[in-house]
């Protein structure tokens, strides 16, 4: 570890090694299972595996929350195997949240399947990619069926009476749900209703399956399991597997300061990650880096590869005959399944040292043994943080996890109060199986599977109200006291379980038309608009055009030194008010709104220094809007007045900083989620566009909108409308009762805001009071700082050093800068003399000059009005050349030593 990185670590915590807790095989074990385990040199089991076996065998539904590498797959399989060996007709359905995970787990089961042989235990993956012949085989006789919720919804249940499926349901003993915690919010509500339908069908076929679930650490695994599966559960959380010592390091990226202590900004978390990765490679770690977005992943990957290349150039040893940059790879949605499988393989077999991934790898895909994780930016929840950092520690040797903080309120609060992250419980996973729209959607599907009877009210609590509605819509008809589906074919296809955009865009290579990737509409607008730079596993493409009709974009390979970030804005518009009433000092309205996201421009950011190369306006702005339901409340005038007065301008002069409406939104969203059982991604809160415009037209009141993040709405806002008094009361309670001293991510979101002011605003929705005195916060903790090493005026002397700094940082311009023969200054002018005419001309292109200026400003304290001039001069004489060579050699030695020693 270099001093550079060490300096940035502001907090470390070590978790002690956990000793294994073994138990002997259960008495009941069949000989064959003992045989299998012994042949694999497993003479004892972890305590939790035995506990699982016993509880399942005694007929309990079990949810297990032991760690990632604790042998959960085996824990599931043992009781299932026992049952299959006892009764070969036994069927078990294993449900995974993604297709990738199902096939990964199928691979993991192979040794067991091989040991017992197809005749005794057979299994198969049944999903959208399964071929018809394989489907038939699985339906006919597979004991273990690995699938996903979508297949259950649209293939298994609607076809229960068809050949093969009836046998599955009649003999279904176990339903295994892996990664239970991923079924939260609307997705979870869908799965819960799928199981309600399944219960009906199992009852018909006289089966009564038990549920076996595994979940990552969440606060309420039993509650979640019970809500989703509709039966009582027992928890197994005592982990019998050993864990190595784990170290957690929080890294605060340094501020950039000049000699005069002036703060120039803060180095981006991704940049620090890109610096840390080569060190992990060099120290022979196996690691995974989590980025917060697809773009983030690619930027980190590209910059880390550049640095590894540079390190190679500067003398870093080639590992196993490989270019160091080839030792890392990206991993995210948008890579083809084939690409992903290849990456997984390379990682498992040690051909790769590390991955840079989105949270796609938060789920349990096996990528071999890891001893380090790098989390770039706090992932938003503690549950995610533990899940991501939990990926390391499989190897038994000590492991280390880094959290690199972004320059954002949540992250920066952790810098102030790291205990907040470590000492509190993981979040609750929230699910509401009785969401009216989702319940209704599945009730319709259920009616088509089997006529509904009034007894089904035990499963669908709103059946009594839904049936009359469906009757009058002609969707069900009476059938001897029951209700049979009379609507159009396949009601189970009328909704999507994951709120996924079905509009897909393709990205094709312009040259040969091969498909690079595909993505949904919203992603396409952000990532492959004309002019965008799209990165794919370290390769870059520039988008040349985007055809909205055929939903295709075209790209050419791109070698430029920047990436793009779209700039958009969101607007909300009221379409229709359905209900309104006054409540204390606010008016509550419920109605339809239109949420419109417009992407009108994008900025080009240079790699490594992340300086803006300028904004580009799209010739045709991209708009994605949808209608949804919202409940909105008006802000009392005194609150608006005080909050507006506290606004502060940003660098562009816009009054957007110190916005206490943000704090209010944050508190109300949290309260609304709690009261209405909603997940973070189900609803959103925003202020009307006039909130931050001073002296805005009086008649249009400032409002706070809470809306469903689903087209047409999912009923959350409607529920919220009825519960506003309760929501406001709990928002007040949550903010006033938060143990933090003066605002934290838990209560007001942004620790820079004044908690008293936020609380006062919330209280004033209910009752008028005098505004408290605003105290400008000043909670500057000592921060690690890097100083710019160079000064503009020393450039002529230190040019080579600057060049090496640039090269070492992995920046593309470094090699080029070294071709500059002479550097001089005249006032605030920097004069560069070149001996290659072509290079000189190239450099004189405005874009290139801008890019050079950015690079220099990043490393060098430069005058604000710095100008760069380029001159061309014929070759230098021999003497000069020798001088320069000497200088270079000297410098190179110095840097080599530095790199080698640390």
């Amino acid at each position: 570890m270099t001093e550079e990185i060490k300096k940035l670590i502001i907090y470390t915590r070590k978790m002690k090694k956990r000793e294994p807790l073994y138990r002997n095989y259960p008495e009941e074990f069949r000989e064959e299972i003992r045989g299998y385990l012994e042949s694999n040199h497993i003479s004892r089991l972890y305590a939790h595996q035995v506990e699982m076996f016993e509880k399942v065998r005694s007929g309990e539904n079990v949810v297990i929350t032991t760690s990632t590498a604790s042998g959960k797959t085996l824990a599931f399989l043992l009781p299932v195997l026992q049952e299959i060996l006892e009764d070969p007709l036994t069927r078990a359905i294993f449900i995974y949240p993604t297709k990738a995970l199902a096939s990964d787990q199928y691979r993991a089961m192979q040794p067991i399947l091989k040991f017992f042989g197809e005749g005794r235990v057979s299994a198969g993956v049944y999903d959208g990619d399964t071929k018809p012949a394989e489907r038939t085989r699985i339906r006919k006789g597979a004991n273990i069926i690995l699938t996903n919720p979508e297949m259950l919804n649209s293939a298994f249940l609607p076809n229960h009476s068809n050949y093969g499926f009836d046998a599955i349901f009649a003999n279904l003993r176990y339903v295994v749900i892996d990664e239970l915690h991923s079924y939260r919010g609307a997705f979870g509500a869908h799965l819960a209703n799928i199981f309600r339908r399944m219960h009906r069908i199992c009852r018909y076929y006289h089966s009564n399956p038990h549920f076996l679930c595994s979940s990552a650490t969440i606060a309420n695994p039993v509650e979640l399991a019970e809500k989703i599966c509709g039966s009582g559960f027992t928890l197994i959380d005592r982990d019998g597997s050993p864990a190595p010592e784990k170290e957690y390091c929080i890294i605060q990226p340094p501020e950039i300061k000049g000699n005069n202590d002036k703060v120039y900004g803060r180095i981006a978390a991704s940049n620090v990650a890109a610096g840390l990765i080569p060190e992990l490679v060099e120290e022979d770690h196996h690691f995974i880096t989590f980025g917060r977005s697809r773009r983030n992943v690619e930027v980190i990957l590209k910059e880390a590869k550049d640095k590894l290349d540079a390190a190679g150039f500067l003398g870093m040893a080639r590992v196993g005959g490989k270019n160091p940059a080839d030792l890392i790879a990206g991993y995210r949605g948008g890579y083809t399944p084939l690409e992903r499988k290849e990456i997984e393989r390379k990682m498992t077999e040690g051909e790769l040292a590390g991955l840079v991934s989105t949270n796609a790898l938060e789920l349990g895909i096996d990528i071999g043994k890891l001893d380090a994780t790098v989390i770039v930016g706090y992932p938003g929840t503690r549950a995610s943080f533990w899940q991501q950092s939990g990926r390391a520690g499989r190897s038994g040797s000590a492991c280390v996890n880094y959290l690199i903080l972004e320059n954002e309120p949540f992250d920066q609060y952790i810098a102030i109060d790291p205990e907040w992250l470590f000492s509190r419980e993981s979040e609750n996973a929230i699910v509401d199986p009785d969401n009216l729209l989702i319940e209704l959607a599945h009730l319709r599907a259920a009616a088509a599977e089997m006529p509904l009877s009034l007894g089904d009210i035990a499963l669908f609590p709103d059946l009594g109200e839904m049936i009359p509605v469906l009757l009058s819509a002609g969707e069900v008809k009476s059938l001897a006291g029951r209700f049979a589906w009379a609507g159009p074919a396949f009601p189970a296809g009328d909704y999507s379980l994951r709120n996924m955009d079905k509009t897909r865009f393709k990205l094709l290579a312009q040259e040969d038309g091969h498909e690079i990737t595909e993505m949904d509409e919203s992603q396409a607008y952000h990532e492959i608009h004309p002019g965008a730079v799209y990165m794919h596993d370290g390769a870059s493409y520039e988008i040349t055009k985007m055809d909205l009709v055929s939903r295709t974009a075209y790209a050419i390979p791109f070698t430029g030194d920047y990436y793009t970030v779209p700039a958009g804005q969101e607007e909300t518009r009221i379409l229709q008010v359905f209900q309104e009433e006054a409540y204390k000092r606010t008016d509550i309205r419920f109605g339809d709104i239109n949420v419109n996201e417009i992407i009108a421009m994008y900025k080009k950011l240079q790699f490594h220094n992340h300086q803006n190369l300028g904004y580009v306006t799209l010739t045709q702005p991209l708009q994605k809007d949808y209608d949804t339901e919202s409940t909105w409340i008006t802000m009392p005038e005194n609150v608006v007045k005080v909050y507006r007065s506290l606004l502060q301008p940003n660098r562009m002069g816009e009054l957007v900083l110190n916005n206490h409406f943000d704090g209010m939104q944050y508190a109300i969203k949290n309260a609304a989620m709690m009261v209405t059982m909603t997940e973070r991604d189900d609803i959103d809160v925003t202020m009307s566009n006039n909130a931050t415009i001073p002296d805005e037209f009086r008649e249009e009141k400032v409002s706070l909108f809470i809306y469903d993040k689903y087209e047409g709405g999912l009923g959350y806002s409607e529920k919220i409308y009825d519960l506003i008094p309760e929501i406001l009361a709990s928002a007040v309670k949550m903010v006033s009762g938060c143990p933090c001293e003066d605002g934290c991510p838990a209560c007001v979101g942004d620790y820079n805001l004044d908690k008293k002011i936020v609380l006062w605003g919330l209280e004033n929705l209910l009752e008028e009071s005098e505004a408290p005195v605003y105290l400008k916060k000043n909670i500057k903790e000592p921060q690690p700082v890097i100083r710019k090493e160079f000064s503009f005026f020393n450039l002529p002397d230190e040019w080579d050093k600057v060049c090496y700094a640039v090269v070492k940082n992995g920046e593309a311009g470094g090699q080029f800068l070294k071709t500059i023969r002479k550097v001089s200054t005249e006032g605030h002018k920097l004069i560069l003399t070149m001996e290659n005419e072509f290079y000189a001309k190239w450099l004189m292109e405005p874009d290139n000059l801008q890019s050079l200026a950015n690079t220099l400003r990043y490393h060098v304290i430069c005058p604000a009005d710095m100008q760069i001039r380029v001159r061309f001069e014929a070759k230098m004489d021999e003497q000069e050349k020798k001088e320069q060579q000497k200088k270079r050699n000297r410098l190179k030695r110095r840097y080599d030593e530095k790199l080698g020693n640390e």
Partner: protein
């Protein structure tokens, strides 16, 4: 089962047919017009009035069941009928078999060595024959392609071989095996069904004079194929009279070698006079009017059974929901007095029966299916030719039971006795009748199946016609919203549109414009329902709350309507509402209520 009791007087058409003595006569009999009665009356007339001995008659039918029925009716009059007397009564195959048993040479050493059949031959099934082919192939090292489809290839290629073909399209050794098979069968004294008919024809031709038939009477003549026609010709001598009954509208086995023209071909061949039986005694007028729409030959069918109820047309979501519906509906019908055995469910393809079986069984509803065929790995006839295969087999099985006839009296099929709902394909329904008939799967692509030719389409229509005319009293047709049989469309069958609207009670499914589900709208309506319900509950709660009462010295006891810090309002019986200032303390609030 029988519409016309023997005591009943024949109608003029029937009478004419019974009395006819032309050398050849063909009766074009509409469905349900009493053709079996005519046949039986004809036989009795010839025997009793014309003194023609039974052994001088051949009465040929297509099923054992029909032959049995005739024999049974004759036995009611004459208990002492012998097998010898009735040798000519039966299916084509069984009559051929009896001729062979009688005329083939005795079993001799020389005959056996020469490889000649003798009268002690055994009858083999197509499966047995296939086994022989495989054994020959194995022994001689012959190659056979597509062994899994051998049965079908045998049907086609063996027939082709007999017609003189020497090479099949698959270019294997199958055609080299056929002559060896022929030889082997003679050596082992075994005959297949086809051999029976072929040899029967040969022998009958030789022994025509010895047989000396006075009358040949044929039932369902439209179903005969070329081989059977040859057999008829062999039986028929110069003086033999020919009388046949048939319905060109019921030709549904054209793939067996008959065609819609067989009826007319026979007419031509024997120079037959054509008579007709136009009056239907079976079905209601409504059903006949519907059936008339599918009549291809001849004029309208005249009814005599009264108007009847409208034809029900129902839509069911899929085959499972339909099976659930049928369970309930049949129970209801049973409660109304329909015997289970008088209720039939017809379907186009065998696979449709699977789910009915499962659901009925689970519900404990009694039902019978035509005998199941174990060797069918895949009971899914999806293409017309496969259905043919299945049905061909069914027919042959009937022949197979003829073997049994030789040794013992054919046991009455158990199914006839049991009071159970009858499940069968449309093909199998031919010749049967029921009070209540369901025809399910009336979707385009299933009824009718997708057709490749006009001829096929016409036959599909005749098949539906046969199905329709099986019903005496009620007919219920249904189609699926979500059909699962491959090749079936979601749209209802065009046949439903061809039926006159006024005959139908059609509960049409919601039109296509409302196909796109409006979940949001339904949700809002549900929300409204829930609100209303809550409100009602609250009002009820309010109403049930014990009312607070107070007493005023002047007005007496009254209900307290409202109350705040200052005022109290009461309603007194006879005085109405009154407000009082609390401070005056006039109102005493009554406790304990």
């Amino acid at each position: 089962m029988n519409n016309i009791e023997e005591t009943r007087t024949l109608n003029p058409y029937q009478k004419e047919a019974v009395l006819d003595e032309n050398p050849a006569c063909l009766v074009n009999a509409n469905v349900g017009s009493g053709k079996t009665t005519v046949l039986i009356e004809k036989v009795r007339y010839l025997h009793e009035k014309k003194q023609i001995p039974y052994e001088k008659m051949a009465v040929l039918t297509f099923t054992n069941k029909a032959a049995d029925e005739i024999v049974e009716r004759l036995s009611r009059k004459e208990a002492e009928l012998t097998e010898e007397e009735l040798w000519g009564f039966g299916t084509f195959h069984s009559v051929a078999l009896r001729i062979l048993r009688r005329f083939l040479p005795e079993k001799t050493e020389e005959g056996a060595e020469a490889g000649e059949w003798n009268r002690e031959f055994t009858v083999i099934t197509p499966e047995d024959e296939m086994e022989m082919v495989l054994a020959i192939a194995k022994e001689g090292g012959y190659k056979i392609k597509y062994q899994n489809r051998l049965k079908k290839r045998m049907e086609e290629d063996y027939a082709a071989y007999r017609r003189g073909r020497t090479q099949g399209k698959y270019k294997d050794d199958l055609f080299k095996i056929f002559p060896l098979l022929d030889k082997e069968k003679r050596q082992e004294n075994k005959m297949s069904f086809a051999d029976l008919l072929k040899e029967g024809t040969r022998v009958a031709k030789e022994k025509e004079e010895e047989l000396d038939l006075k009358w040949i009477i044929v039932d369902e003549v439209q179903d005969s194929d070329e081989k059977q026609l040859e057999f008829l010709e062999a039986l028929k001598g110069e003086q033999t009279r020919f009388f046949a009954v048939g319905d060109p509208n019921q030709v549904i086995y054209s793939w067996r070698g008959t065609g819609p023209n067989m009826f007319f071909l026979i007419k031509h061949k024997f120079g037959a006079k054509e008579l007709s039986l136009p009056v239907n005694y079976r079905s209601s007028e409504v059903i006949l009017e519907a059936a008339n729409r599918f009549l291809q030959f001849g004029g309208k069918i005249e009814g005599s059974a009264g108007r009847g109820e409208k034809i029900l047309v129902r839509n069911h979501y899929d085959s499972f929901i339909e099976a659930e519906y049928l369970t309930e509906r049949i129970r209801e019908l049973h409660a109304q007095g329909f015997a289970y055995r008088e209720i039939a469910v017809f379907y186009r393809v065998q696979k449709q029966a699977e789910i009915l079986e499962k659901v009925f069984e689970r519900a404990g509803l009694p039902f019978v299916l035509p005998a199941k065929r174990k060797e069918d790995e895949d009971p899914v006839p999806e293409k017309p030719h496969m259905i043919r295969e299945h049905f061909a087999q069914e027919r042959i099985e009937q022949s197979a039971s003829e073997q049994a006839e030789e040794h013992e009296q054919l046991p009455e099929e158990k199914t006839v006795e049991e009071d159970a709902v009858q499940l069968m394909t449309l093909h199998a329904s031919k010749g049967l009748e029921f009070d209540y008939v369901f025809i399910i799967g009336m979707n385009q692509g299933l009824i009718p199946l997708r057709c490749k030719s006009m001829e096929q389409e016409e036959e599909e229509r005749r098949l539906f016609f046969v199905g329709l005319t099986r019903a005496r009293r009620n007919l219920e047709l249904s189609y699926y919203t979500n059909p699962t049989i491959p090749g079936t469309f979601e749209t209802p069958s065009n046949y439903l549109r061809m039926l006159p609207e006024e005959l139908l009670d059609w509960e049409e499914k919601p039109g296509s414009e409302s196909r796109k589900a409006n979940l949001q709208k339904l949700r809002k309506e549900t929300r409204e329902m829930i609100r209303e319900k809550k409100q009602e509950e609250e009002e009820q709660k309010e109403a049930q709350k014990p009312k607070k009462k107070g007493r005023h010295p002047k007005y007496g006891e009254g209900e307290i309507i409202s109350e705040d810090e200052m005022m109290i309002e009461l309603e007194f019986p006879g005085y109405g509402k009154k407000q009082f200032l609390k401070a005056f303390g006039e109102v005493e609030v009554l406790k304990g209520l």
